[in-house]
Symmetry: T
Subunit: 68 residues, 12 copies
């Protein structure tokens, strides 16, 4: 991180494939309204089960964006 002021927001994305795709889904949706997204940190990995199979993944990320 460079010498900026950052704001953090918490977003949960989902995917029926992988943790990585769920994180990207969260970032893609957030970047529609938030500019200057710089970093993320995974804070929670959950999911739904249907008939003994992972139905989809739900991954919560803290996203950091520069304010200046």
């Amino acid at each position: 991180m460079q010498q900026h002021v950052y704001k953090s927001v918490e977003i949960t994305g989902s995917s029926d494939k992988s943790v990585e795709e769920a994180v990207q889904a969260a970032i893609s949706r957030a970047s529609e309204t938030l500019h200057n997204l710089r970093w993320f940190e995974v804070t929670d990995v959950r999911g739904q089960i249907d008939e003994g199979q992972v139905n989809y993944w739900q991954v919560t990320v803290k996203l950091g964006l520069t304010l200046d």
Copy 2:
């Protein structure tokens, strides 16, 4: 939770009666500007004391709302 993208916000509500009423106060105020509130998680229960009595309760909740 269904397969959505969620955003979380942190709100503190208060009540002179109960934990439950303080949570509802936080949700009521948040729902004035935030739509699609779906779930909450209590993260902190505090309060103020006046002359040996609970004066009011202050309960912090993380609120989840759908972005799509």
Copy 3:
């Protein structure tokens, strides 16, 4: 606690009224199959929101039962 061997199980109960009622719901259901329940510890307080109102409370408890 007296000098016993204890087992802990984690149960989530729900109620549309209060934290207390959700805890009792968890204990009532658990006591149908588990005997000798002795103590509980609240580990999570969450809930669902519908149109700006708490729809119901979901409270997770760790329940301790004696094995001997």
Copy 4:
């Protein structure tokens, strides 16, 4: 909190009715010997079970009092 020096003490109160009443029991007992109690924070919610019913609640609070 105003610009004071505070001391914190940890007290556990109990009640057969509710979390709120157990917190008040802790504060009432503490205020017999401690003056200037200002705030509390709930740190633990436990209880005893008797025949599948919550027998009583035990709630631990950190109490803050002004020293000056």
Copy 5:
């Protein structure tokens, strides 16, 4: 989550490929004896190393199942 009573169990699955496959292994084995599995939460990601390569992944999940 709907208004049910849930039980949580903790299972560790393993895979030589990925975190996702290790989670599915845990769920598949648990669903042989536990019905109504609904959700999971990843609580630990570990693994074994052999000659500088990840030998296999070991992922611990908390699994939630409906009791009613």
Copy 6:
């Protein structure tokens, strides 16, 4: 740990002598009904006091057993 599926259970044992003996008491009791116990992790060390002396130790362990 080898490449198995594990289940974890939480048991509290007690002893008037030592932490080690309380852990063994928890394992001995659990092994009456659970086979294939492989590892343990101490998660809590508590105890009861009587007239200024440790009356007995209560140690909580998470026990891991292979399911396959």
Copy 7:
């Protein structure tokens, strides 16, 4: 805290001098768009190093503002 509804936001400020100055930088930037900032809590203290010297401090604060 008085009997209000509060919202919390997470901001990271930086300074090449001190923790205190980095916190003030976060608050100053946040107060350009957020009114009624009332309290802060430091949640993370990090920084960058250049040739064996602290280059700048990065301090994350949770900021509380009144909504009413």
Copy 8:
């Protein structure tokens, strides 16, 4: 625990022999001035090293005493 009001205090005891003896040292010293000590919880286990040997153990316990 029965239906009492409890106070908790934090004490660190030491011993050159064992964890158990350090806990007893903390309780013995505390019971000189505090009556009605009922339970303890170990919160920290540390120690000093001298020439590659444990010199002494320092164990911190939270002690619970009845106030009524």
Copy 9:
């Protein structure tokens, strides 16, 4: 730490200048009634904001004192 019995107390001090001065304020006030203070550990750094400026710092410390 040498081989003593220690007691810990939790005090919050404040300062309009710095974290360091708030810690010293807590220690100075505590040492009016508590002798043999030996060490401290910072457990919380908060503060109040007034018109976009840090109004004062509130720092909570755990203070250790020898009992013997």
Copy 10:
């Protein structure tokens, strides 16, 4: 784990593809100088964002190696 003495080191690896590849990158680099690496535990999953896309993953692992 067998009856050895282990040392733990903390390494962060990165990958533009996946969590798994970032872990392997950390292990591969560490095994250039450290022999007898046996196990890992993921302690942090972060990453960098560039124009609304995950640029690369940064995964921190604790690595265990036998000393004997």
Copy 11:
């Protein structure tokens, strides 16, 4: 602790007898290559089970050594 610069390392020792002996095993092995070991802190207590008996204890300690 005196006014030194310290480094911390994390070591796991084992013993088939006790927690104390496992800690000493970790310290003894570390002191073969590290001089000036001064203190330790227990961070994890685990172990292996064989046929319903504790086979051996595995205790992880953070060791502090002076660098100057």
Copy 12:
């Protein structure tokens, strides 16, 4: 952070003036033998008290260095 492999080490520095100076002391000592130090994270702030005054500060930092 750029796309490197990092190693983290834990160092405690001290100062009789401030948190900032204690962090710099830790970094200065570490940089005598470790090159490529890039970032730090404060994990513990403690200190020693002498006659009601802070005698010196002891601040523990996790230091990140690039391995490549």
